[in-house]
């Protein structure tokens, strides 16, 4: 009981800063995901019709996900310095795999008969892509974006070690002061914020998927 009361007092006391950090965190994730979506869908579109380039691209973006995040953030400070830029680049790299993979899978799952009739009607490659293939692959692609966002919300906390924005800063501060009375609260508050953001984005993309998917596909 005591713990909860103290934690509540802490939250009240820190609320302005926590809200600020949560907004920054969400902003960092959204910017990174927006960039990852553009690059990921673009890459997926570029390679889905071919066998080897698709495999190679997936292997490369898959490998990015295996680089330990501390190491990657650290490496990126070399060319980009400390701060948001390096953080965004790292998060884009982590976010690519689900988006590229789902774009390739989604575009490949379009019924060949549908593509053939589109071609036979005189649609060129771009018309076909924009009006037929992407809309049909869309539910799968947006699911990739959703997975990617949820992964990124967690990893974004580590951006704090290179002075990036977001909820990670408080976590690292708390870690530096382990043992002191407020350290637990200081770590717990941003963790809860991250969980909250994760759920929020998850629900957001579920709703977005529902709203943007044709009734004919449901």
């Amino acid at each position: 009981m005591n713990f909860l009361q103290d934690f509540a007092t802490y939250l009240e006391f820190q609320s302005a800063e926590l809200i600020q950090a949560t907004i920054e965190h969400a902003g960092l994730v959204l910017v990174s995901i927006a960039i990852a979506t553009v690059i990921g869908v673009g890459l997926g579109v570029a390679v889905y019709q071919t066998d080897r380039p698709a495999k190679i691209s997936l292997a490369v973006v898959g490998t990015m996900l295996t680089i330990p995040s501390f190491a990657l953030f650290g490496l990126l400070t070399e060319p980009f310095g400390l701060g948001a830029t390096a953080a965004v680049i790292a998060l884009v790299m982590y976010g690519l795999l689900p988006i590229v993979r789902n774009t390739v899978v989604g575009l490949r799952s379009v019924d060949p008969a549908v593509i053939e009739s589109a071609t036979g009607m005189g649609m060129n490659r771009w018309q076909r892509l924009a009006r037929i293939e992407l809309p049909l692959a869309w539910p799968i692609i947006i699911t990739g974006v959703r997975v990617s966002t949820v992964i990124t919300v967690g990893i974004a906390a580590i951006a704090a070690i290179i002075n990036g924005p977001g909820l990670g800063k408080d976590i690292f501060r708390a870690l530096a002061r382990i043992g002191s009375p407020f350290a637990v609260y200081q770590a717990l508050a941003p963790v809860l914020g991250i969980i909250f953001l994760g759920i929020l984005f998850d629900v957001f993309f579920l709703v977005l998927r529902r709203l943007t998917t044709s009734r004919g596909l449901r």
């Binding site: 549908v114 009739s117 036979g120 005189g122 649609m123 037929i132 809309p135 049909l136 044709s214 004919g216």
Partner: protein
Amino acid sequence: MTDETNARGAQGDNQVMIRLERLEKRYPGQERPAVAELTMEIPEGEIVILVGPSGCGKTTTLKMINRVIEPTSGRILLEGDDVTNADPDKLRRRMGYVIQQIGLFPHMTIAQNIALVPGLLNWDKRRIDLRVDELLDLVGMDPSDYRNRYPKELSGGQRQRVGVARALSADPPVMLMDEPFGAIDPITRDRLQNEFLRLQEEIKKTIVFVTHDIDEAIKMGDRIAILREESSIAQYDKPEHILSNPADSFVEDFIGRGASLKGLNLQRVRDVEFAHWPTANHTATRGEVLEALRRSDQGAVLLLDEQRRPRRWVDARDLDRTDKPLVETGLRPEAIVTGATTLLDTLNEMLKSRVACAIVADDSGAYVGAVDIDTIMESIQSMRAAAREQSRLLAGAEIGEVSS
């Protein structure tokens, strides 16, 4: 037969719409070509059927016409223009395309599916809307009911009709159809075939139609090309000539036994003489009906409603019964056909409902006359006689050629 007559399909008077010249397709990594040096002319306004055993190259041939498959060599001429190297997308907009799997766009409504090509051609919105409704009407689907549905909300037969409507959307002069009725149950297929023939009487397109079903070929074709391996033409001719005079044993085997019964697919109800039965209004008194029966030499009277649609067959015995109103006695009329029904379908109708006489009705369902089973039998006999006569003449001609 020379190659040139083979290519023409025993000429009619229509202009050539499509000409294929020494068209060839070799798929990479295959020893033999799928289509070898095919030369063939397709006359304007006719349904030309490509029929042949599985794998003989029908689909490959059809898809080379709109260059969904690019030919390895040879030329394609459309209305006299060489389109072998023209912009394929422009070429394809001059040809409607219907495939067996239909390939409707599942994320678009029926109206959006049909409106797609006119949209690509930048028609204005009002014109597109009118066209969509016109086409849905044309294929027998109520626009207000179907316009905003999605493909998954339609039956297989309805999807097929939308596929045809979509292919017709920009009013192309040519339609290419690859087994369009292949994946549909026999009863629906039969109905769609009949509807399509009626539609073609209105739209008069040049149609290339692929099937592997010889019965469908005979029913639908103004001209049939029977193909063997590598799309080589075994015979290209009007269906009645193919039936009565197969070019060789391959064609003979392919059209199979019962060729004269198949000939019934070529004749339609409107081509034969109708029998006439006495009729009376369904509200007529027993006395009036009895009078009508006495005046004719037939054994029954057909009761018609106000729109002259058949309601009931009644005979003298039914007239004697007084326990029920007259329209509830007698027999419900079955085997009702129209002028466009083939004699084979008419015969089937009669056999199905076990009657010796089919009622002929017009489009609104009003009584026009009747066809007796004897009339159909006579048709079979005269067709047989004509076939015998023709093959005797042709045999004579060939002997003449050899001796000269």
